[in-house]
Amino acid sequence: MLSSLLFLLLNAVITCVAASTGYHERLFLRPLPQGSLLASFNFVSNETQEAFEQQNFRYFPRSFGQILQHAHARELHLRFSVGRWDAEDWGERPWNGAREGGTGVELWAWVEADNEDEAFARWLTLTNALSGLFCASMNFIDATKTIRPVMAFAPEGPHGNVANLHLLHGTLPHEVVCTENLTPFLKLLPCKGKAGISSLLDGHKLFDASFQTMAIDVRPVCDGAGTDCSVEMEQTVDMVLNVARSKRPQNNPIPRPLPIDQLECDTSKPYNSGDSCYPLKKSTEPSWTLEEVFGRPLKGACPLTEETGDAAHTACIQTEPERTVNANTTGEYTEMKVGSDTIRCYKLPTGSDFDLVLPEQQLTTGLVRPSPPLFAARSINGHGQERGSTQSIIRNPSTTNTVEFVYLESLPWFMKPYLHTLRARLDTTSASPIKETYYRPAIDRKRGTHLELLMTIPPNSTLTLTYDFEKAILRYTEYPPDANRGFDAAPAVIRVLSPNTGDRKGMYIRTTSLLLPLPTPDFSMPYNVIILTSTVMALGFGNIFNLLVRRFVGADEVPVGAGGLKGLVMGKVGRLRALVGM
């Protein structure tokens, strides 16, 4: 509980500093159970509205700013994600999931336009430009992958002054996020990964993480009075590293079996001997240092960050107070302890490397990990490539409060759900949990399915949501090269409305994506099929019209020998003779 409070507090810190102009960054480390480590990087750069409109950018990356202006995007959220957050073990998501995306690429933006079509046109320019900027295939977010959510997303910034905003949302669940997306991401930072906490971001480690998400959020920020607004760009990287795995040296990453003498055996076992060893589960917290885990040193502070105040303490770690954390650097640094010592923040030295060293340690106390408001899992039932049914199981762990949430599904057009088979069952009550439904059915090759449900779950009960769907068979040109792998269906987005977080970011949970095997034709067949089908049709047609256009005469009336081919030929020859004779 305590820690969760502090976590909120930390968010508050960042948001409050965000309101002012300038550039801020913060690294927040949190050891997780089973030797994992959560590292969330957060970079905030502001620009006053005027400066932004006059295109004189200081911290705000010009390339990005110009794209936003050209596409009239007032607020934009871009996500690159890999892996899944293990809520059972790791508890609540960083930023309450507000800075997290579904597997692959997810993008939603509020575009200013007079009508839907213009908005969509601008959306297309936006996606194309972004795909160029981030080396991601966002240009494939076309009409079939774009939806216009109604309840699931709310703008984070105040948009009082701007009328007719259109929210568009698109996902690429199959997109593989990798280093080519990280490099442009770092390029947008003022310190470009050369100094400050961003110097820790190394492709190898980042993409070896068990869970990792990169987020870019652009939103207007105004002070209380609503005057002197500024445009804020927030870049976030959350990653969960497996300490043991990350500590392996770059040149020898293979997890070879430990030498027997380094293996900790359970000596209490009767059979324990030289040749058999029951491995002990380590009870101690593993030792690690920043350099070991991230594979490169933290190169001092980014000179653009403030010199004093909270914002200056850019590297924070949240551990049990008894855990020894040694800062190891040649330059001078200051340590600041927040929230009854569970959070320690360090002001980084400028120009010299900085490292945090945590020794292996036996801990007596542990931090309370706040559990998320909901646990959600989604899977496909049934087998065969013809039809199936989707099953989402959403559990409310809380014993006291009812949870109200919005469930958003954005399905590809070739996955055709039957809404009349939609069933939502609660294991505790028979009352239907569905309060509101928004449904926009798919149209072949034009539009995907868009389903939004407003639902409530009473305390500690489980909701099972199922619906049947049918799989369309596509034209052979519409299949990807790996047709037999199947198609990915985007993760479902769950937005928790109550209990709500104080800030405007909201609380989000995303399920994993689904693999949808479609029936495949034989790709080597086009010519054969055209030939065979045409043959059958020709047989029918020829047979019938042959009967229609010719008339019957008695066999004996036909010219002599007119039996079969020979007769035919003879007849022709005879006629020819006659002609010649004349």
Binding site: Y439, I473, P519, V536, N543, R550, D556
Partner: protein, 423 residues
């Protein structure tokens, strides 16, 4: 006669019993059939109809989506029935009644005697027929018909209207004929192609009934206008119900342009899966032209036997339309016995029936291998659809040969039983 009606009642009761008892004994059976691609196509599937009704009753336009492609007037009709998933009986009864009415209609067609003796032509074998009861029985207990009824595919309805149209035409009832045909065309578009032959049939019957034969042109124009009005009324009623004309694109547009390539027993789906994008429109045109081209040819050549032309056209629909199902085949195969007198002249009957039989057994097996076992590929099922279509088209051509041969025997009695050649 009382005996006959007794027979009829008995048979109809038995048929109804089969249709009502089977779902009661095996509750999952109807849904299983509804899921079979051979039985229900995207434009006739009952599950899609349910979806459409659900959206309709929840004020979402069913036509603003890629699932529902069936006629709008079905929506209010089925929204009146109780939910089939909870009370299936009501729906089953409806479909059973539809089948019985169709059987009744087919019986009427047989009774009219138009199949053997029309105004301009009387077969030399006209005594060689089956009673209307026998033919109705053939329809009711045709496994394909039963499957269609249990699967609650809406093609049962269009079959009913087609048969009624034929029956009315054969009995010279203009208005009912026009209405029935209008409904058939409204439900599944292609029956409109039956208008020319049936019009001829109607004209013949009218001419035979009333000695003073009406003027051809006025007759034709009057009925064409009548049909146009009827269809127009239906369409505008639908537009009134759904509140827009979107349904045109979503129903007839889909039938014309084939956006949904779900497999079926026809020839179109795999062809257009494998077709190169640049030629798709061209071949759509060609295929439709091909399907329509049979109407004038048959009507002109066989204008003496309009009923035969109409029946043959139903066969053409069962093979060459974009979304055929075994329901269409059931219709055609139940109409063929009307021409019992042609059987002695048919030549490939065993070949054709064997082909159809094997196709109907191997089809499901191969579909299972492709979709569920994953050990076969699409070509397995495709091959079977080819065999199926081939079998049907052989029956088609063979019966045509027989009909023409039959005409020849009347025109030139001296040729009866002699070998003939086509030149």
């Amino acid at each position: 006669m009382p005996l006959d009606t007794e027979h009829k009642l008995l048979i109809f009761a038995a048929a109804a019993a089969v249709r009502l008892v089977l779902p009661a004994v095996f509750p999952t059976f109807p849904d299983l059939l509804t899921g079979r691609v051979e039985v229900s196509t995207p434009v006739t599937s009952f599950k899609r109809l349910q979806e459409g009704v659900f959206l309709y009753t929840h004020n979402v336009s069913p036509y603003d989506g890629g699932v529902y492609h069936q006629a709008p007037l079905l929506l209010p009709l089925f929204s009146l029935l109780p939910d089939p998933s909870t009370y299936p009986l009501a729906t089953n009864i409806l479909y059973t009644v539809v089948d019985l009415l169709s059987a009744n209609a087919i019986g009427q067609i047989a009774d009219s005697g138009q199949n053997v003796a029309t105004r301009l032509f009387t077969s030399s074998r006209k005594h060689l027929t089956w009673s209307s009861i026998a033919i109705a029985t053939g329809y009711l207990f045709n496994p394909f018909t039963v499957a269609t009824c249990l699967a609650r595919s809406t093609s049962a309805l269009s079959n009913l209207f087609i048969l009624t149209a034929m029956a009315k035409a054969a009995h010279g009832a203009s208005t009912t004929f026009i209405l029935a045909l209008a409904f058939a065309a409204y439900l599944s578009m292609h029956p409109i192609l039956l208008f020319p032959p049936l019009l001829v049939l109607l004209y013949d019957t009218r001419a035979t009934k009333t000695q003073s034969k009406p003027n051809v042109w006025t007759f034709a124009i009057a009925h064409t206008l009548g049909l146009a009005v009827a269809i127009g009324a239906l369409l505008s009623a639908s537009a009134f119900i759904t509140g827009s004309w979107d349904f045109l694109a979503a129903t007839y547009g889909v039938r014309l342009l084939l956006p949904d390539l779900t497999p079926n027993v026809g020839l179109w789906w795999y062809f257009f899966i494998e077709m190169f994008d640049s030629f798709r429109e061209f071949f759509l045109g060609v295929f439709w032209l091909h399907a329509a081209s049979y109407v004038p040819g048959l009507t002109i050549r066989l204008h003496k036997q309009p009923l035969f032309v109409a029946c043959t056209l139903t066969g053409v629909f069962a093979i060459f339309t974009p979304y055929p199902s075994i329901a269409d085949a059931a219709l055609y195969l139940s109409l063929v016995p009307l021409f019992r007198h042609l059987f002695p002249l048919m030549r490939y009957s065993f070949l054709a029936s064997a082909a159809i039989l094997y196709a109907s057994v191997l089809g499901p097996a191969f579909y299972h291998l492709w979709i569920y076992a994953g050990s076969g590929n699409a070509n397995f099922f495709y091959a079977i659809t080819l065999v199926w279509s081939l079998g049907l088209s052989i029956i088609l051509g063979d019966s045509m040969y027989a009909a023409l041969r039959d005409e020849l025997d009347v025109e030139r009695p001296e040729l009866q039983g002699k070998e003939v050649r086509r030149i």
